[in-house]
Amino acid sequence: MAQTTLLEGIRQALFEEMERDPAVVCIGEDIGVYGGAFKVTAGLLERFGWERVIDTPISETAIIGAACGMSYLGLRPVCELQFVDFIACCFNQLTNFVAKSFYLWGAPVPMVVRAPSGGGVHGGPFHSQNPEMYFAHTPGLKVVYPSTPYDAKGLMKSAIRDNNPVLFFEHKALYRRIKDEIPAGDYTVPIGKAAVRREGRDLTIVSYAALAHTCMDAAAELAKEGIEAEVLDLRTIQPLDKDSILASLKKTNRLLIVHEDTRFGGVAGEIAAIVFEKAFDDLDAPVRRVTSLDTPVPYSPPLEERFLPQLKDVVVAARELARY
């Protein structure tokens, strides 16, 4: 068991899957010689050659379109978008071509779109966003957003082996910050299954990606006050693991949802609606949300700090909810 970063976990998954299956190819901007903007694909070119590690022009639509076409002949392309913000450039290819292909004419699209995402690194409005809900809202796409190196590696392997298009969000603030013990050898983490990170009886905190760690910190603080929070890490946004959310709520009867995406139309609102429809009787308090502001992601540190949910915001909301 070696200490591994989230970035390294993803890199290992790419290496191992490309070793395992010659149908797996990587395509994106600056992924070959340069090794990718964040060096996730470093070393792939030397190992697998020019045909399997394809540097492209700056053309997100062409990257997604070409990957889709490759998948029709049985390949399993893994695309890299340099930052997920640029996914807007290929929105049409993803939501109209790729997502609808199987439903409409029975052509599965086994491809992965990897994209560094999230804020907290002073990337400014176009290098910090969390646009997962545009795609979670689009039938036909799967959306994965891991928070740990172990999950990142296992979910990447599942994503590559999945016979559907999977958007794989990689929180760039976690790339090198979080380390995990990752077992040697092949393993996968299933898409569509949440993980209970901490058990508790007083309230459930549902989160994912970078804020899953903030929620763990919050739970540790709350424990000092005698409040036992259960922390659920979604890991996958679409398909959403409703069962795990409802099971936890049945136990705690209080629900706080925390995400880095903006508030309106975010995953928290969707989870709240599901809970009201399916488990109203389990609720002892109104569902609470802690999210980013409904604004673009501002650049200056005090502005971005205000924009993003902070540890104290989670602690305060959880405390109020527990004492409701």
Partner: protein, 416 residues
């Protein structure tokens, strides 16, 4: 032969090209039969539309049949096409039965999409190698580039062909797709059907150039201009395009000059088109002119024509009856098949040793060879884009020359 594009503009009348490559009488009759089949299928659908049996939109390729038929007829079974809404003829040549086109438009459960989509929006990965379009223009170009790239990777030496209208050449996806195709030297044939109208806007108000094929030069790929109403010219030019693609000299752009003889769709009476323009192009109808040509040449006799028509009408009658008696899909189908469970319908068909692309094979050095100091001399990369794997073999020994040299579709270095 088709005329390779030159920098000069062309008078349209001078563009009428004549076949010089041998074409057999059987091929001629095939081309005629497919065009006629296309027209009768579409005429039948116009009637069905007027009877409200076709529930959605109906687009016509009247007057453009030679393009769909002539291009697709130049392909082999292993090659791939992706139709647009005016390429019913291409589907028929590829082997789609009229019943699939009828049921698709009539939204029946027996249609290729089970009623989930209409028009020419369906495909077949496994047998016919057809990729379904979406309504957004240009998106097929990067997708078919990917098909060509995957075909090369698997060693299949296939050609991917798709069409775009004059209107669609203004989209961003057209640019991104054609640029990637050219950079990759993908075996893509992009047929620009210049039917002179983007919905209601004439081509002269869309682009400030006369020949859309001129654009190919900026992408670094070859282009042909062909009379889109001359099926033999289209076929022969397409054969040449296929040959070039198989030799690794794709992509090829082919502009076919034609005229849309109906409105954008059935609801559009096209009153914005000058009557004289319709009259001019009616005289150049691709089926009428070809019928006269084949009759004058003695290839098409009255007896043969009657045989062809009888054959077509028999299929049409049978398939129309089948479609009309087909049920609509059960409502619960709407909720089915969002995700694909189970194995893929198509596994990679390797036509080259997998060992060529699997480790150990790590002689690639992770460096670019840009050639010179970037003095912008002629002959640098701007003139000769190379596909990713060929750049390894071609531009300074960064890759595995042995593996690259085996490739059937390896682009020739120093091609003019």
């Amino acid at each position: 032969m088709a005329c390779p594009i030159s920098a000069t503009t062309h008078e349209f009348e001078a563009l009428v090209t004549h076949a010089t490559t041998a074409i057999t009488p059987d091929q001629q009759l095939d081309l005629y039969r497919f065009m006629l089949l296309d027209r009768i299928v579409e005429d039948t659908m116009t009637k069905l539309f007027r009877q409200n049996i076709i529930v959605g939109g109906l687009y016509s390729s009247l007057g453009q049949e030679a393009i769909s038929v002539g291009t697709t007829y130049a392909l082999e079974k292993r090659d791939w096409i992706a139709p647009m809404i005016r390429n019913i003829g291409g589907l028929l040549v590829k082997g789609v039965r009229p019943r699939d086109i009828f049921t698709q438009h009539m939204a029946r459960y027996t249609s290729p999409t089970l009623g989930k989509d209409g028009t020419s929006h369906f495909g077949d990965l496994k047998n016919l190698h057809i990729v379904s379009p979406i309504s957004m223009l240009g998106d097929l170009i990067p997708v078919m580039t990917g098909v060509a790239m995957a075909g090369r990777y698997l060693g299949q030496n296939v050609v991917a062909l798709t069409w775009i209208g004059d209107g669609g050449t203004s989209t961003g996806a057209f640019h991104e797709g054609l640029n990637l195709a050219a950079q990759q030297r993908a075996s893509l044939i992009l047929v620009i059907e210049n039917n002179q109208w983007a919905y209601s806007t004439p081509v002269g108000r869309q682009v400030p150039i006369t020949d859309l094929a001129d654009r190919a030069k900026a992408y670094g790929c070859q282009a042909f201009i062909v009379d889109g109403n001359d099926v033999e010219a289209v076929f022969n030019t397409s054969r040449e395009a296929v040959r070039l693609c198989r030799a690794g000299q794709g992509p090829i752009v082919m502009e076919a000059k034609t005229m849309r003889m109906r409105g954008h769709a059935q609801h559009d009476s096209a009153e914005y088109v000058p009557k004289d323009m319709f009259d001019y192009w009616k005289r150049r109808d691709p089926i009428d002119t070809y019928e006269k040509r084949l009759t004058d040449a003695g290839v098409l006799t009255a007896k043969k024509k009657a045989e062809i028509l009888a054959g077509i009408n028999a299929v049409i009658e049978e398939d129309r009856a089948f479609a009309e008696s087909s049920p609509f899909p059960p409502p619960e189908l709407a909720e089915s098949a969002i995700y694909h469970e189970g194995p893929l319908p198509i596994e990679p068909q390797w036509k080259r040793p997998i060992a060529e692309v699997t480790p150990p094979r790590s002689s690639v050095k992770s460096v670019w060879n840009v050639g010179g100091n970037g003095e912008f001399k002629s002959g640098d990369g701007a003139k000769e884009p190379a596909p990713a794997q060929a750049s390894a073999a071609n531009s300074g020994g960064n890759g595995d020359k042995r593996a690259a040299a085996k490739r059937p579709a390896k682009p020739a270095r120093g091609r003019k």
